[in-house]
């Protein structure tokens, strides 16, 4: 067993709404042990982050992706498809964060390979549950 501390999990957060991004960060801070967060607030930048992981074997793939469906330039669906065809990110859990209540949208997103769906609430306590949900999909602490 290695004595080195396991690296902090890397989380990608793709969200263009600044208050929502701040609240997601707040929820993760409260729920998780140290983690590394990389963010993008538009779709092309998100795709670039995924491309960088695929193109550079030195760079670690994320442990979890939090993805808003309504991003400028590239939609959440485009990014989900890109993730699912990526060499190194295809198995990464993806939590969709969206304000849509449409069951049809939820069904379509699951077909495209999303792991979970989180509906943004206007109630703070409910919104902050995103932290607990994220924790469920991260490797347990100490695992390599």
């Amino acid at each position: 067993m290695s004595s080195d501390k396991p690296p902090a999990p890397l989380i990608f957060l793709f969200e263009d709404n600044e208050p929502d991004a701040l609240l997601v960060r707040m929820a993760l801070d409260r729920q998780l042990a140290p983690f590394e967060l990389r963010t993008a607030n538009e779709g092309e930048e998100a795709i670039r982050l995924i491309d960088d992981v695929d193109g550079d074997l030195e760079s670690a793939p994320p442990s979890l992706v939090l993805l808003d469906l309504n991003l400028p330039r590239k939609s959440g669906e485009d990014i989900l498809e890109r993730l699912r065809t990526s060499q190194r990110c295809r198995g990464v859990p993806v939590i969709i964060i969206s304000s849509s209540e449409s069951p049809l949208e939820k069904a379509r997103i699951h077909q495209l390979g999303a792991t979970a769906y989180f509906q943004k609430s206007s109630d703070l306590t409910e919104f902050l549950q995103i932290g607990a949900l994220a924790q469920r999909f991260l490797p347990p602490r100490g695992a390599t």
């Binding site: 709404n17 208050p19 929502d20 609240l23 304000s99 206007s122 109630d123 703070l124 919104f127």
Partner: protein, 366 residues
């Protein structure tokens, strides 16, 4: 020519097929009114009005041949049933009158001319050109649809900033409370109340616009007992808080979109719970067949409504209470009316202040 198997004096659809009319006649300008007389087989016996009509309606020709082929079979069936019953004929149809712009829309009415002793009784027929009116109707429909789509998009896009407003307020109230004085705290209460009201209003407006979205009515009947059960489950917090007793009598199954009828029951039952009196709310839900249509009743023992408001309450944004007294955005009953009327039904209330209200709605058979 004559449908012998039936009444012996009515028009046969098959006989119309392929028959021309006024072949070789010169195109004529639009004719606003046409008057003629025809026998029960549809054969023209005499005509009045513009001389140009002579090119179209000739004695012995059959006027139903002028109707657009797509509408002819229905018109013939309707004509035959009117002839059999001796009842006046009424239909809207496109007529080909050999004009430059082809078919034009006409409103056609016919009444028995009174000579019942003839083998083929005579009918007076009048047709009025309603083409322009139809075009304006179509344009208005398209404009209304565009407006509804605009409202839907606007409401949908308003949801996000309203949610951010509500959440930011809660962060300040919960995380920064020690740093705020009493008056700052009070202003945050105002902001969060406003955000909550705005959110409810946007949600209700979204439901209102969705209530008019035209989609196919399902073929399978929907069990309304199950719909009411689901609605009561949705409202269980309010039912429990108020200790309400709800009686639901057996309801029929009807072909309706589930979202639509759910909305109607939801708003009516919720209103009975919200506008309750000092008494424990009692709500009675029932349906009966009246004159071939279903009539539903949602009866409560709430505060009741003054007669002068019995119509206005179904208007958009109409509320009878001050904002602080009882919650409600003023969209619920307007949504109910829009849905019920879109199914060809009617909604109304019978109520007196202090004596509860009964909301009725009727739905025609499928």
């Amino acid at each position: 020519m004559v449908d012998e198997a039936d009444s012996g004096n009515a028009v046969s659809v098959a006989a119309r097929a392929g028959r021309g009319h006024g072949a070789g006649a010169q195109p004529v300008p639009s004719i606003t009114f046409l008057l003629w007389q025809a026998d029960s087989r549809g054969a023209v016996t005499k005509f009045d009005g513009p001389a140009a009509a002579a090119a179209i309606l000739l004695p012995g020709s059959e006027w139903i041949d002028l109707i657009h082929p797509e509408e002819r079979a229905d018109a013939v069936a309707h004509w035959n049933s009117c002839v059999r019953a001796g009842k006046s004929f009424y239909c809207e149809a496109r007529l080909q009158l050999q004009m430059a712009d082809g078919y034009r829309s006409y409103l056609i009415r016919a009444i028995p001319a009174g000579q019942t002793d003839l083998t083929f009784p005579l009918w007076d027929v009048a047709a009025m050109d309603i083409t322009e009116q139809k075009r304006r109707e179509e344009k208005l429909k398209a404009t209304n649809l565009e407006l509804e789509q605009f409202t839907f998009t606007a409401c949908h896009d308003l949801k996000e900033p309203v949610r951010n407003l509500a959440l930011s307020c809660q962060v300040l109230q919960q995380e920064y409370r020690p740093q705020l004085d009493a008056s700052a705290d009070q202003f945050l209460v105002y902001i969060s109340d406003a955000a909550r009201r705005m959110e409810a209003l946007v949600d209700d407006l979204l439901d209102y616009t969705r209530s008019s979205v035209v989609t196919a009515v399902p073929d399978d009947p929907l069990d309304l007992n199950l719909v009411v059960r689901d609605v009561l489950e949705d409202l269980h917090t309010l039912v429990e808080e108020t200790g309400a007793v709800v009686y639901s009598h057996p309801l029929p199954a009807l072909c309706m979109q589930q979202f639509h009828i759910e909305q109607v029951f939801h708003h009516l039952i919720e209103n009975s719970l919200v506008y309750r009196s000092e008494k424990v709310p009692e709500i009675d839900i029932s349906a009966e067949e009246v004159g071939g249509a279903w009539r539903f009743a949602i009866k409560d023992n709430g505060i009741g409504i003054e007669p002068e408001y019995h119509d206005t309450i179904f208007g958009l944004f109409k509320r009878l209470q001050k904002r602080d007294e009882l919650s409600g955005s003023g969209v619920g009953l307007a949504t109910c009316r829009k849905i019920i009327e879109s199914y060809g039904g009617r909604i109304w209330v019978e109520s007196r202040p202090g004596n509860g209200s009964t909301f009725f709605f009727s739905l025609p058979p499928d």
